[in-house]
């Protein structure tokens, strides 16, 4: 946890809750907060009561719009706006789904919310469902996260028992059912439409869009789908008000979000920071800097699906716009720090294997392309590659990029294309030296032609 928050100082006095407020991670470290009594002792479900009493659903949608909350699942779509795409009425029932399938390499924030503070998620589900006039919500938990799944299931049971889910919640006349569903272990089931297929009991293949879920979603009904963190932020927004929440962050990326810091830093972990906080603050102040005093080689700032940043981009603010300007994406908030001893080709191979294995196999470029990419990267990494393989990798990526059925295929190309752009000389070293530049079994035979890390 961000235990060093107090040691950070800032001049900005206009921030009502101090520079580093904890909206979505508050009370996370209170012992027993995963039980309903403790959660309530700490003010839990008060936001729900406030939402039901003081807001009409439409007002709540407006409040969320005002807060500037944007989706934390990856794409950063404005949450209030997404909700307003739901048709006002529809013959089929409408649904809300919480996407708890968190599987993006380098991302582990939703898991923490589910494991440590599941009631905050449940409270968010009820508020979100009320705002979108949904009477049946689903929580889809990644299959491998067995403990998280049990925590959420228990929280839902406790909330049912306390009359917070079910008929006539808190005397408001509002009814809601919540079903917790567990995935079976497929990254693609985090993609919203594949998730719906899976929920409906079919193979997790992404669906054709349009129609979009807001129009035709789960069981053909209009559906809102949001990330765990997005939904878990709702109680805080209701409690503090949109203005307070929106006072944090940048003009277009408001509020705070959880950054999952991993890799070669001294204090990896989840840190809730205002959007727009520079990467350097996260890595150096919160993460305690590079492990073992090594030099930074590259950063993947938003989960394995986004392009690399170089050390000289460490001052990039972590908001959607600044990241895009820097040529990458904020994505899922998974910040992976790589030090000078990391073989880039090896790292890229490892990530590409993930996409090969997780490709659902529906569309040709992703299914076959990831298979081919892995074979090429394997031979490069193991010293058997050809120089032409490097351009071939790029061209295979070009034949995938924008041509796959869903974003997974595109995502698979990010690390490859950006690493070739930034570290081509290290690839060439693999070909010429038949070995890595750094790491186990490395040789520096052709190191002279590779830009040193310190010069990047």
């Amino acid at each position: 946890m961000a235990d060093s928050v107090d040691t950070i100082t800032t001049e900005n006095k206009t921030l009502p809750l101090g520079p580093y407020p904890r909206f979505v991670t508050r009370n996370m470290d209170v012992p027993g907060i995963d039980r309903i009594e403790v959660y309530r002792e700490h003010g839990g479900y008060a936001a729900l009561a406030k939402a039901l009493q003081s807001f009409q659903p439409e007002q709540l949608v407006e409040e969320v719009k005002q807060s500037g909350l944007r989706g934390r699942g990856g794409a950063g779509f404005a949450t209030g706006m997404k909700w307003s795409f739901l048709p006002p009425t529809s013959p089929k029932p409408r649904y809300l789904i919480v996407n708890c399938d968190e599987s993006e390499p380098g991302t582990f924030k939703d898991r923490m919310i589910m494991e440590l503070n599941p009631h905050m998620l449940v409270e968010g589900v009820i508020i979100g469902s009320y705002a979108t006039k949904v009477h049946h919500a689903f929580i889809y938990v990644r299959g491998e996260l067995a403990f998280a799944g049990r925590q959420v299931e228990r929280a839902v049971r406790e909330a049912y028992a306390a009359g917070l889910i079910g008929k006539n919640i808190l005397g408001s006349g509002y009814d809601l059912e919540i079903t917790v569903s567990r995935g079976a272990g497929a990254y693609i089931c985090g993609e919203e439409s594949a998730l719906m297929e899976s929920l409906e009991g079919r193979r997790g293949y992404p669906r054709l869009k349009p129609p979009f879920p807001a129009v035709v979603g789960l069981y053909g009904g209009p559906t809102v789908i949001n990330n765990t963190e997005t939904i878990s932020t709702l109680p805080a927004i209701v409690e503090h008000g949109a203005a307070v929440y929106g006072a944090y962050g940048t003009e277009k990326s408001k509020g705070t979000r959880i950054y999952c810091l991993s890799g070669h830093v001294n204090r990896p972990g989840n840190y809730e920071l205002p959007l727009g906080t520079p990467l350097r603050t996260l890595v150096e102040d919160f993460g305690g800097g590079m492990r073992g005093g090594k030099q930074l080689k590259a950063i993947i700032p938003g989960g394995s699906s986004v392009p690399f940043l170089l050390p000289n981009q460490l001052d990039t603010p972590m908001d959607f716009e600044s990241m895009a300007a820097a040529g990458t994406m904020l994505g899922s908030g998974g910040v992976i720090v790589l030090d000078e001893d990391t073989c880039i080709v090896g790292a890229v191979l490892r990530m590409t294997e993930f996409y090969r294995d997780e490709s659902c196999g529906k569309c040709t470029p992703c299914r076959e392309g990831t298979f081919w990419l892995v074979q090429l990267l394997e031979r490069l990494e193991h010293g058997g590659g050809k120089e032409s393989d490097i351009d071939l990798l790029n061209d295979i990526c070009d034949n995938m990029l924008g041509k796959c059925f869903c974003p997974l295929g595109d995502a698979a190309t990010s690390s490859i294309m950006s690493s070739i752009k930034l570290f081509r000389d290290e690839y060439i070293h693999h070909v010429r030296a038949h070995a890595c530049l750094v790491g186990p079994g490395a040789t520096r035979a052709h190191a002279a032609s590779v830009t040193p890390v310190s010069a990047r």
Partner: protein
């Protein structure tokens, strides 16, 4: 019909085109004749967007679009040839080929393979893949008839989606994911559907192959002829694929009105009888108790002599003919003409269900709606019918109707393949279909469920005749649930449009004597007629069951259902045929098989197969038995003369399917050496009889039918076109050359239907039991 459709204008490769709103870019390109390569898309299934083969570039869209998923928009500018499109398509093909075994030289699909063809047209020309391909065990069976080569599979999902969404049967599934993906079968649910063969035809590559077609030919060696399947009364449109002297398969020729692009496995593969090595290749005459080969001349002369002798000694009434439900309309027509005009007898019949006689003005006994109409039905009732096994492609259309929301009721003695998909299942003791139909009429007439003035009138007419046939009585004698019948009656009476179908065979059950008229009354009284998706009728047995009746293979009816005593018909037909026709009705099928005749002419039928011992004795006691058939059937074995005939794949002609569609059959192969088409044989016999027939082709015979049979007025080979026309016909427009054409008229009126039942009724409402085979 022609609702004003909203059109959208766009250009593709610079050519303007207008297509209905909601069309896919792929369809718009089709219209212009521009090919957009597809694998996963299939026009009969929802877009999937999986294979990424159909890329096009659309102005203002940043990414390439898939033509199979992108709908047209006004003013859209599409390119199918831009550099970006070319690279995208070549990229997809290169991807598909990295894991493809490229065993084209030994692949059955080679030569008609979309992967080969598109690679030639849009592919990269070479591959940059120099690593390890994925390997699988070479073909594994997925069913009794189909093998799967997973290495060749491009994972387009066509086959899987067909079994799951079109056939709605146990079938294929996708297993594993990513590059490990493969097609598989659920071990607990065998892929045993009668529609299974469609996946072989749909598979764009050689991954799915039919066992009976493997390694027997190359596609370019096949002669492909558009025709009609001859295996059942549906009349699916096929392409007959022949190699030298063998039919190897039938492929679909997609007629949306009939088969919707599908075939059943029987039609596709059960062709062994055509290739049978036991087929007759020469005429046979019985000499010294043995059937001995003779020349055609001798055989024809012999037949004529013996027929003339019987007629001279015993009179024309001693001669009879049993015709066929399999031969063409032209042949059925000539057969009865030979007997009536040539030999002077009305003793002509064929094996058929029990249907009342039909009068001019009345609709003959046939399905009053259409197969395609099923899609618009709110209710479909199968009464003693099992289309899955007997008219499979009708069953498949019922599944489509179910998807469109139709409530289907399966009322059959035995478990039915549709049971698990339908709104209601009612079981009863076999043989009681008629009992149930009358119990339904009883409920409808006594519970006031009639609709409309005419319906109420008809109900009043029928009430007394079914007063005793209560559902409770049906429960007693037929073991049916009376309440279920009541519910069904209410559903039919409340339906927006109900189609009630019974199997022809049910009319031959002990309780089925009046089934045809009772079911028609059910539809009439409840107002279920005269619009698509409403009606009643029989599901007939064979490919030309209806044509046989239309052509007058009936003892009391001339072609076109005119009574044999009808003076006007006599004058017209007699004039055309240059003959005096016998006026009194002839003997029925059963009467002819009970010693009623001394000489029997059997064409394409095998009465001995299901004959009683008495009937067999009568067959053996005949003075003269001549049989035209493909093999030495049970009947042919008893014959005096056997004349070798050919299958429908070896001749031209026309069939009339169970929903009244008259369609052209085309010769797809050389007739078996030594055998002749039934029409040719009949012409030969007639000439030997000195009748001076000069027909040179089935086309000529059909034109004569078009002139002499009012029901078929205007029919010519040309007028039937590629997809056939359904009677009753209406005069169509004139062609540019001034030729008259015909169109099928969908409007079947109350009058036409009511005439049918009226004729079948005695004063007081009791129905007359018509005759059929077995009576």
């Amino acid at each position: 019909m022609a609702e004003q459709e909203e059109l959208v204008n766009l250009t593709i490769d610079g050519q303007p085109v207008s297509v209905p709103k909601g069309s896919l870019i792929w369809a718009a390109a089709q219209k212009l004749g521009i090919e957009i390569p597809i694998y996963c898309y299939h026009p009969k299934m929802d877009p999937l967007g999986a294979c990424r083969m159909c890329f096009v570039e659309v102005e203002k869209m940043p990414k390439l679009a898939t033509a199979c998923t992108t709908t047209v928009a006004e003013g859209m500018v599409v390119s199918t040839t831009s550099a970006k499109v070319k690279k995208g398509r070549a990229g997809t093909l290169e991807f598909l080929l990295i894991n493809h075994p490229l065993d084209c030289p030994i692949c059955d699909k080679g030569g008609e393979c979309d992967l080969q063809d598109f690679t030639l047209r849009y592919g990269p020309g070479g591959s940059r893949f120099d690593l390890n391909k994925r390997h699988f065990e070479k073909p594994i069976p997925v069913s009794e008839n189909i093998l799967l080569d997973r290495e060749r599979c491009i994972a387009c999902q066509r086959c899987v989606r067909f079994t799951q969404t079109v056939a709605m049967e146990n079938g294929l599934v996708m297993e594993q994911r990513g590059f490990r993906i493969e097609v598989g079968v659920d071990p607990a649910a065998p892929f045993d559907s009668i529609f299974s063969g469609n996946v072989v035809e749909m598979c764009p590559v050689g991954a799915l192959t039919a066992k009976n077609y493997r390694f027997v030919t190359r596609p370019w060696e096949l002669k492909k002829t558009p025709s009609v399947c001859g295996n059942c009364s549906v009349g699916c449109n096929v392409r007959v694929d022949v190699r030298v002297d063998k039919v190897l398969r039938q492929y679909s020729r997609t007629n949306d009105a009939i088969d919707d692009g599908w075939l059943c496995d029987r039609g596709r593969w059960d062709l062994d009888w055509i290739n049978d090595t036991e087929r007759l290749r020469t005429p046979l005459i019985r000499r010294d108790g043995q059937l001995q080969p003779v020349s055609w001349d001798e055989a024809l002369r012999f037949v004529a002599e013996r027929l003339r002798a019987v007629r001279d000694q015993r009179g024309a009434r001693a001669i009879g003919g049993i015709g066929s439900t399999h031969t063409t309309n032209e042949e059925a027509y000539l057969f009865q003409k030979l007997l009536r005009a040539g030999l002077g007898t009305n003793n002509v019949d064929h094996a058929h269900g029990r249907f009342p006689a039909t009068e001019p003005g009345a609709l003959p006994w046939a399905w009053s709606d259409s197969i395609a109409g099923l899609e618009q039905a709110s209710h479909i009732v199968l009464l003693g019918a099992d289309p899955y096994h007997r008219q499979p492609i009708v069953d498949l259309r019922i599944r489509k109707a179910i998807r469109a929301g139709a409530r289907v009721y399966v009322v059959t003695p035995e478990a039915n393949r549709l049971d698990r998909l339908v709104a209601g299942v009612i079981r009863y003791t076999a043989g009681h279909t008629g009992t149930l139909a009358r119990a339904l009429l009883n409920i409808i007439t006594s519970d006031g469920l009639a609709r409309g003035e005419q319906g109420a009138q008809r109900a009043a007419d029928r009430r007394a005749s079914v007063a005793q046939e209560t559902p409770e009585r049906a429960a007693q004698v037929a073991g049916v649930d009376a309440d279920a019948l009541r519910e069904l009656a209410r559903e039919i009476a409340g339906a927006k449009g109900a189609v009630i179908l019974y199997d022809e065979a049910a009319t031959l059950e002990p309780s089925g004597a009046t089934l045809a008229a009772d079911v028609l009354d059910l539809a009439l009284i409840t107002g279920n007629f005269g619009k698509p998706g409403a009606g009643a009728g029989p599901l007939l047995a064979d490919n030309n069951s209806l044509g046989a009746r239309d052509m007058g293979l009936l003892p009391d009816t001339l072609p076109g259902y005119r009574p044999v005593g009808d003076a006007a018909a006599h004058a017209a037909l007699g004039g055309a045929w240059l003959a005096t026709l016998p006026a009194e009705p002839g003997l029925s099928y059963t009467e002819m098989l009970s010693g009623g005749v001394k000489a029997l002419y059997v064409m394409g039928a095998n009465p001995a197969r299901d004959a009683t011992p008495e009937q067999l004795a009568a067959l053996d006691a005949l003075d003269f038995l001549v049989v035209q058939d493909l093999t030495l059937t049970e009947t042919a074995q008893r014959a005096t003369v056997v004349l070798p005939a050919v299958a429908y794949t070896e001749k031209d002609g026309s069939f009339t399917n169970t929903e009244r569609c008259v369609q052209l059959v085309r010769r797809a192969m050389q007739p078996l050496g030594g055998a002749k088409a039934d029409w040719e044989i009949l012409v030969g016999v007639a000439r030997a009889l000195g009748l001076g027939w000069t027909y040179l082709s089935p086309a000529e015979i059909l034109s004569e039918i078009g002139r002499t049979v009012p029901l078929y007025a205007g029919v010519t080979r040309r007028s039937l076109g590629a997809e056939g026309v359904r009677w009753p016909f209406a005069p169509g427009e004139r062609t540019p050359e001034g030729r008259a054409t015909i169109t099928g008229s969908p409007s079947i009126t109350w009058q036409m239907l009511a005439e049918g039942v009226a004729r079948a009724q005695k004063p007081g409402g009791e129905l007359i039991a018509p005759r059929g085979r077995g009576e």
